[in-house]
Amino acid sequence: MDKTDVLQGTLILLVLRTLDALGPQHGYGIARRIEQISQDVLQLNQGTLYPALLRMEQSGWISSKWGASENNRKARFYSITAAGRKRLIQETGEWKLMASTIERFLDFDPDSLARERE
């Protein structure tokens, strides 16, 4: 697994979560929400969102259709599908498991291990 793949995987989770929480969004909307919610910690090249959206749509996790934006411009709106929700639950579970495992590693006190050895 190289770097982009990790990023890609994370991106999918973020997009699914965003769409699940906020309902149909266009690409700009998704990018903005991700930056807002992460309080600008997660900075992404917003363009990379579009190939990811295409792949997710091809996998059937999201669907898209053209509609009118807030300022009445034509925009493509993405919304999560049932398969996407299932995927989100699965991905969330995996992510949490991963995060908690990493956390346990990081909270681990080496001194206690040294003491146990003695």
């Binding site: 700009y28 579009y50 190939p51 091809q58 996998s59 034509k74």
Partner: protein
């Protein structure tokens, strides 16, 4: 199944591609606009706002590229791109394309055609049940150097004790007269034992096979071939139960054989019980050789080697029950497929396969060399493409696509050529090859078409790889200076030189073999056959049915008188058989001084009329021909050929001596030799004459044979109608078959040789041409790349002649190297093929010299053109022109 969903989505993407891409453009614009607006709201200048928006969006083009790859099948699209590009490239260099495709097509076509024949002849299963288990059984007679002799009835009965066989059937072919609707016709009848069909695993298509009881009772029943049924009964099912008249006797049709049923070397229209021979009782008693052919089926678990071992032991056991004259014979068990296509034909086919493969290799090297040269000239193109971002993989793929395209074109054209070669009259025909028509004609089969396609693809990639090696070596630097490109091409030139050397080595092997065959053919044509065939026609005929021997004498007399009276006829004679299909073993007792001893001899016995020898033009060496005095009441006389005279009386005059058939004490008459004639090659020019005895037709009138007529006409076949009307004047029910000139019949014996020779000659001519083109291309290219060097040499004082010699020498060095290598291989190949040659040895120096001379001559010619070009180089122009 998410990959399936992705696949379906991409399939849809393939259709809505451009629409979706336009959609993406809109999305991007929308996104950028919103970003810019947000930036403006936060107080940026319009310029800075746009810039910041672009920065946070990231690079647009790579993203779109990535989007496109996901949208649909990207590889497929670029492949289509490559294909279009390749088509354009090939069209642009039409000369190269035409040369490569033509060369490969000829090679592939020739290979496919020859392989189709080989596949039919050697690998196709015989059309019988479990044909691997079918064998032929022969009597072996080591003292006569006979490995596969027909056998006697007594032997078959004895052989049936063996445990190795599930069944053993006897058969023999015979020519009979069929009278149908007032017309007499000679047809071939197979006389078979009742288990013949069941041994082969064949059932009649309609009706039934005769039973063993019917055969034992000599019942007049028969089965007809499918073709006969169609021809004589118009395919009517009522045919079964009807009667036809065979040799004057009514026989009942009881069955019809399946369509396409054939047995090798027994192309019979009717199939009868083997007991229907008039001399059945004699035939049954024969213990020696030459009565029956035997086909057997091995038991499931028995191999041919086991069967052979058992039969050899059996033959030893039988010896104890035999009189001394019949001892020492063996039994040969050989696969039926070997009977269909004999050892010689097999070997010839393999040899042709080798030859055509040589042509193939030469063609491939030629095209590879061409492609190499082209690869160098395209280095710049590839370097530019690489500089523009094409990966090495992409460039390689481009080459592979181009060569695949080339291969597909060559494969298609080659298949067409092969199809034509197999279809055109007088082309590759199993009949001419000496193969039986067991399988019908050879068609271009699917398997071989597959072989052709695989071959052409392999070749395409091989050839495609040639320029690829250039690609790798040159590191794809954008080199414009010619200096480097010459260094780069040096390695390629070395490779091309090696290819030319290889071509010449292969070409000399082919030319040498073709030379050997051409010389053999000449030898076979020049051999003295003992005939003077010019102006002679022969007509096969049969005496009217049921004519007793005394009246046959009359018939022949009348016939010869009538025919001799036809204007244009010089001499008419009759022989019970003109050409020999089989010889037979006889015990002969020759009077030699005081004592006579019996001898077992493989010989041929025929009855001839008085003028027969004069008609065919066979010289009398001693004594006299038959005369009218040698009638039925005169003492029996014979004329023998030189071979027999030398065998019976090696040291003495044969004329006036006596011999008899059988042992000295047998009651056969003593026959006096009245003449010795020159040896006639009655089995074709290539077979050494066998001992032959000719008896007087008037003393021993055969039931039929060949009428031999010497005419004064340039085209003797024109006299045939007159002969036929003369015959029908004597008896309208005399069946007349094949009429042909003696020349044509002698030539027919040479057909397989002629065919092999002409194929080899064609292959060699192609090889010669390709080798010439190959060396010409190389030297020409070399002159072009060395223009500067040659100009420099001339500028410092080299003479034109010197330059000419240098270039010529460069080519000849390669040719001679190739020839030397080739000769080393050609001589053992020639030796190995000596069984296919006639009258010359496998290392015939003349053939070798001719081949070497031809190749050298052609290479001198091919190198002369570029050498002359080199001579005409203007030093100043060459040096100025970088």
């Amino acid at each position: 199944m998410s990959w399936l969903r992705v696949f379906a989505a991409r399939l849809r993407g393939l259709v809505g591609r451009s629409q979706r891409e336009r959609g993406l453009d809109q999305e991007i614009q929308f996104h950028l606009d919103l970003l810019t607006e947000a930036n403006l709201r936060s107080g940026m200048s319009p310029e800075a706002a746009r810039y910041a928006a672009r920065r946070s969006f990231g690079a647009v083009e790579p993203m779109k590229e990535q989007y496109r790859t996901h949208l649909t099948f990207a590889t497929l699209l670029t492949l289509a791109q490559d294909l279009r590009y390749a088509l354009r490239t090939l069209r642009r260099s039409a000369g190269y394309t035409a040369a490569a495709v033509t060369t490969l097509a000829v090679a592939i076509g020739a290979n496919t055609a020859v392989l189709s024949v080989v596949d039919t002849a050697l690998f196709r299963q015989l059309p019988y049940h479990d044909p691997e288990k079918l064998v032929m059984l022969w009597t072996e007679s080591p003292s006569d150097n006979l490995r596969e002799g027909r056998t006697g009835y007594w032997n078959i009965e004895a052989w049936r004790q063996s445990q190795s066989f599930a069944g053993m059937a006897a058969f023999d072919g015979v020519s009979v007269t069929l009278v149908d609707a007032g017309r007499a016709e000679r047809i071939t009848a197979a006389r078979i034992s009742s288990n013949f069909l069941s041994v082969l695993g064949i059932r009649p298509a309609a009706g039934r096979m005769f039973t063993t009881e019917e055969a034992a009772q000599r019942r007049r029943v028969l089965l007809v071939s499918h073709a006969f049924w169609q021809g004589h009964f118009a395919g009517s099912p009522d045919a079964i139960g009807t009667h036809i008249e065979v040799d004057g006797v009514r026989s009942q049709v009881i069955g019809i054989l399946p369509a396409g049923f054939h047995f090798p070397k027994l192309d019979a229209q009717i199939w009868e019980p083997y007991s229907l021979f008039p001399d059945w009782d004699d035939r049954r008693a024969v213990r020696g050789v030459d009565t029956w052919s035997v086909v057997g089926r091995l038991r499931e678990d028995v191999t041919i080697d086991q069967a052979q071992a058992e039969m050899t032991a059996l033959a030893r056991g039988l010896d104890e029950h035999l009189p001394s004259a019949d001892r020492g014979r063996g039994i040969t068990v050989s696969p039926l497929s070997r009977h269909v296509v004999g050892q010689g034909a097999r070997f010839a086919l393999w040899m042709l396969t080798g030859a055509v493969f040589c042509v193939f290799l030469i063609a491939v090297t030629n095209v590879a060399s061409l492609a190499l040269a082209r690869g160098i000239s395209r280095t710049r193109e590839f370097a530019i493409r690489a500089a523009l971002g094409a990966s090495l993989f992409r460039l390689m793929r481009q080459l592979i696509v181009e060569s695949t395209l080339l291969a597909v074109m060559a494969g298609a054209a080659g298949s067409l050529l092969a199809w034509l070669a197999l279809r055109l009259p007088g082309s590759i025909d199993p009949d001419i090859l000496g193969l039986p028509v067991l399988f019908g004609t050879t068609a271009l089969n699917g398997k071989m078409l597959g072989v052709a396609l695989v071959l052409s693809l392999l070749v395409g990639w091989l050839v495609g790889l040639a320029p690829a090696t250039v690609l790798r070596r040159r590191n794809l630097a954008l080199s414009s200076d010619s200096g480097r490109s010459i260094v780069g091409s040096a390695a390629t030139q070395r490779l091309r030189r090696a290819l030319v050397v290889g071509q010449f080595a292969l070409a000399i092997i082919l030319l040498f073999s073709a030379g050997l065959f051409l010389r053999s053919w000449r030898q076979a044509q020049d051999v003295s056959t003992g005939f003077r065939p010019e102006g002679v026609v022969t007509v096969e005929l049969h005496t009217p049915l049921q004519l007793p021997p005394p009246q046959r004498i009359n018939f022949y007399q009348q016939l010869l008188q009538e025919v001799s009276a036809i204007p244009g006829v010089e001499k008419a004679g009759f022989a019970s058989d003109l050409f020999i299909s089989s010889t037979r073993e006889h015990v002969l007792t020759a009077e030699s001084g005081a004592r006579s001893r019996p001898e077992r001899l493989e010989l041929r016995r025929d009855e001839v009329s008085a003028d027969f020898f004069t008609a065919v033009g066979t010289p009398l060496l001693a004594g006299r021909f038959f005369s009218h005095a040698d009638g039925p009441d005169a003492p029996p006389v014979a004329i023998i050929n030189l071979a027999l005279a030398r065998r019976l009386w090696p040291s003495a005059e044969a004329v006036g001596r006596r011999f008899k058939f059988g042992l000295a004490e047998s009651d056969g008459p003593w026959i006096t030799v009245v003449g010795v004639v020159a040896d006639m090659r009655r089995q074709g020019a290539e077979r050494a004459p066998v001992p032959q005895i000719f008896e007087s037709l008037a003393q021993n009138p055969s039931s039929g044979g060949s009428l031999v007529v010497r005419t004064a006409l340039d085209d003797p076949i024109r006299i045939v109608p007159a002969i036929q009307s003369a015959i029908s004047r004597i008896d309208s029910l005399t069946p007349v078959s094949a009429a042909d000139t003696l020349d044509a019949q002698l030539a027919a014996f040479l057909l397989p040789r002629r065919f092999q020779t002409s194929l080899l000659a064609i292959f060699s001519a192609i090889a010669l041409l390709l080798a010439a083109v190959g060396i010409y291309g190389l030297i020409q290219y070399s002159v072009v790349t060395r223009t500067k060097e040659i100009g420099l040499r001339m500028a410092v004082g080299a003479q034109c002649a010197g330059i000419f010699r240098m270039i010529l020498g460069e080519g000849l060095k390669l040719a001679v190297t190739g020839l030397t290598l080739g000769i080393v291989a050609a001589i053992p190949i020639g030796r190995a093929s000596s069984s296919l040659l006639f009258g010359i040895s496998g290392s015939d120096p003349l053939s070798l010299l001719a081949g070497v001379g031809l190749l050298l001559g052609v290479s001198v010619l091919a190198c002369c053109l570029p050498a002359r070009r080199a001579m005409s180089i203007e030093p100043i122009a060459a040096l100025r022109d970088q």
